[in-house]
Symmetry: C2
Subunit: 125 residues, 2 copies
Amino acid sequence: MRRADPLSSTFAALADPTRRAILARLALGELSVNELAKPFKMSGPAVSKHLKVLERAGLISRGRAAQRRPCRLAPAGLKSIDDWLAGYRRLWADRLDRLDYLSALQAKPGKAVSGSPKPPRSTKG
Amino acid sequence: MRRADPLSSTFAALADPTRRAILARLALGELSVNELAKPFKMSGPAVSKHLKVLERAGLISRGRAAQRRPCRLAPAGLKSIDDWLAGYRRLWADRLDRLDYLSALQAKPGKAVSGSPKPPRSTKG
């Protein structure tokens, strides 16, 4: 894998259903590689490979206990995605508001729309 | 590119800084391929390739006007990422609360922590 910027690595790590399933299990608590491997019917090395991708992406961390090295969710990676999304979140809220508004206008042609739905909020500010 | 599940396609499409930069520009308004290509110093075909990935991932849509076919942001793709993140958001809020709580405990050894910071919220419910 080519060396990517951190955010690209995080998105790339999440572009795999097995890795997302691993995160979903770790959301419930820390697990060893063997514990993680069981329900996936995957070999230890196959799981380890996925874990390395997740660790490099800042999505999990590994314990230091020599034998078990439990995996746990590292919120930093998910937080970076959330921070990136934040700039867009208002955009689709506005878009949905506007669609509500337009469909209300179409439902009552020639009539001013009063009360809810509200007019679209400004995307500025 | 192998055919992936929709969420994996969306994450994969976002794992590229040029494609994220395209989305950032489209967040300001719709643009033609030529308009999009300009600041990137990329060829039209190179931009078109990125646009196809974004379109397949549900992140942009293209107008039907034969000559211009303007691109616009499609909130559905970003919304699917946001919905996926929602399950984890509480988790890292809890984790950060807990870290605040622990550091407050360490700052005042042997003393009960009163007032803020609050004890960690339950992850259940």
